[in-house]
């Protein structure tokens, strides 16, 4: 999928492939455990500013991640996916670290349960006091559940 969708990315990937150093080291961690550690072609996630794709030799970066589908492209046509909670991305010295509150394989998500919890969170959001901490908490929870539900309902096609 996203590898090579845009002309610039494709040429960068091809160039890197030709140079034989097209991979980056990646680690995905939650406070509870290490979820993934290994080499990748590309890591795709979402920061507060939008979608990012990290290839080998990316410039150093620290970013705030928002709930979305985290995609780890291990090889051409081989992708691991996770529903990622809020967290952090740190890229330095050809190594990308993803630190998130949770990283759940899509098939472990339960769409029906997520829908129920989303309805509940939306109710809380509607009742929360304007501008208070409870409102912010409800907003974040709503966004997380929406993102997870979208991932859970997505048909699982080839990577």
């Amino acid at each position: 999928m996203p590898v090579g969708t845009g002309p610039i990315r494709a040429s960068r990937t091809e160039l890197a492939l030709a140079e034989g150093r097209h991979k980056l080291e990646a680690q995905v961690m939650t406070p509870e455990r290490e979820v993934f550690s290994g080499e990748l072609i590309q890591l795709s996630t979402r920061t507060t500013l939008g979608e990012v794709g990290i290839l080998a030799r990316h410039v150093p970066m620290i970013a705030r991640l928002v709930p979305t589908e985290l995609r780890l492209h291990l090889e051409e046509g081989e992708t691991q996916r996770y529903a990622q909670g809020e967290g952090w991305l740190e890229v330095f010295a050809n190594r990308a670290r993803v630190l998130v509150s949770e990283a759940i394989p899509p098939d472990a998500l339960d769409a029906r349960e997520l829908r129920e919890r989303l309805a509940e969170a939306e109710r809380e959001l509607a009742e929360a006091e304007e501008g208070g901490a409870a409102q912010e908490a409800a907003e974040r929870e709503t966004r997380r559940l929406q993102a997870f539900l979208e991932i859970a309902e997505k048909p699982t096609g080839p990577a």
């Binding site: 961690m29 939650t30 406070p31 509870e32 455990r33 290490e34 920061t47 507060t48 500013l49 990012v52 410039v59 150093p60 970066m61 620290i62 970013a63 705030r64 952090w88 740190e90 330095f92 010295a93 670290r97 630190l99 509150s101 949770e102 208070g132 901490a133 409870a134 908490a137």
Partner: protein
């Protein structure tokens, strides 16, 4: 029961280990972002020292179950001692309590508990910690609290746990940044890169916006750590309590057996004396 506690304790110890690299990475990012944002740390809410801090929140971390020696009672005792101390200084105290045991004891003693968190103390998840941390940081940010203390059992070994009081809020910069990572955790080319570091880094969003979020995450991790330490301490205390209960029982069996034999022997001796005495009287 001692064996079950031992297996659970091992897993609890592993969970404390598992969070370390994550926490270290958050510290490192907080240091980097703080340097890049040049002094904007001074404006982070969670670092704000309030004097006088009149409204104090205390989070007591106890367990859901008993049979763990002094594990629960020493937390409640320390909490009440702190309350007296703060009161004598003219401050008000609000309690939040983790664990069924602490909640029922506080209720029994007629103490007000603002928030109760129960049902996870043997195996706390990060989400539990975050829920507690967000309640406390929200109260701090909204001005309902000027200071937040955590009181929990710090885990040293299965035999040793001690009550620790730790000020969660305001956060101290020196604590968050910690010592610069030594040895294994240092990037091999870190020094080389350090010079032109900040200039070429990308921050999304800006460093000034990232910093408060990193401190918030650090507060979440501090609560998570306290919950994990407490869970390991609870299991350790229970294992020790079970072991000394077994040992006490063994000792008691030995003592009672001895006592029983002594009494029986005394009875026999008495009977012999009576028989001999009777024979002599006849003779």
């Amino acid at each position: 029961m001692e064996m079950v506690a031992a297996a659970r304790l091992r897993r609890a110890e592993q969970r404390i280990q598992a969070m370390r690299p994550y926490a270290e990475a958050i510290r490192r990012m907080a240091r980097d972002v703080s340097e890049a944002s040049e002094g904007s740390a001074a404006r982070v809410h969670l670092l704000e020292q309030r004097e006088p801090a009149t409204k104090v929140g205390i989070l007591l971390v106890t367990g859901d179950r008993g049979l763990a020696g002094a594990f629960n009672t020493q937390i409640v005792r320390e909490g009440l001692r702190l309350k007296r101390e703060y009161r004598s200084e003219g401050r008000t105290v609000t309690f939040s309590v983790v664990g069924r045991r602490g909640n029922s004891t506080m209720q029994f003693r007629g103490e007000d508990v603002a928030e109760s968190y129960v049902g996870f103390t043997e195996r706390p998840a990060f989400a539990d910690a975050r829920r507690i941390s967000r309640d406390l940081t929200a109260a701090y940010t909204d001005g309902g609290l000027d200071r937040v203390d955590l009181v929990y059992n710090r885990y040293v070994s299965p035999l040793t746990q001690y009550v620790r009081r730790h000020t969660l809020l305001p956060l101290r910069e020196s604590e968050v940044f910690g010592e610069r990572a030594q040895g294994a955790e240092t990037e091999p080319d870190a020094e080389l890169a350090d010079a032109d570091r900040r200039a070429s880094w990308i921050y999304e969003p800006e460093a000034e916006e990232l910093l408060p979020m990193l401190f918030e995450e650090y507060a979440d991790l501090s609560v998570y750590r306290a919950l994990l330490e407490s869970a390991a301490s609870e299991l350790g205390a229970r294992m020790t309590a079970m072991r000394s209960a077994s040992e006490n029982a063994q000792e008691m069996i030995a003592d009672l057996t001895l006592e029983m034999n002594r009494v029986r022997q005394a009875e026999i001796t008495q009977e012999i004396l009576e028989v001999v005495g009777g024979a002599e009287a006849l003779g």
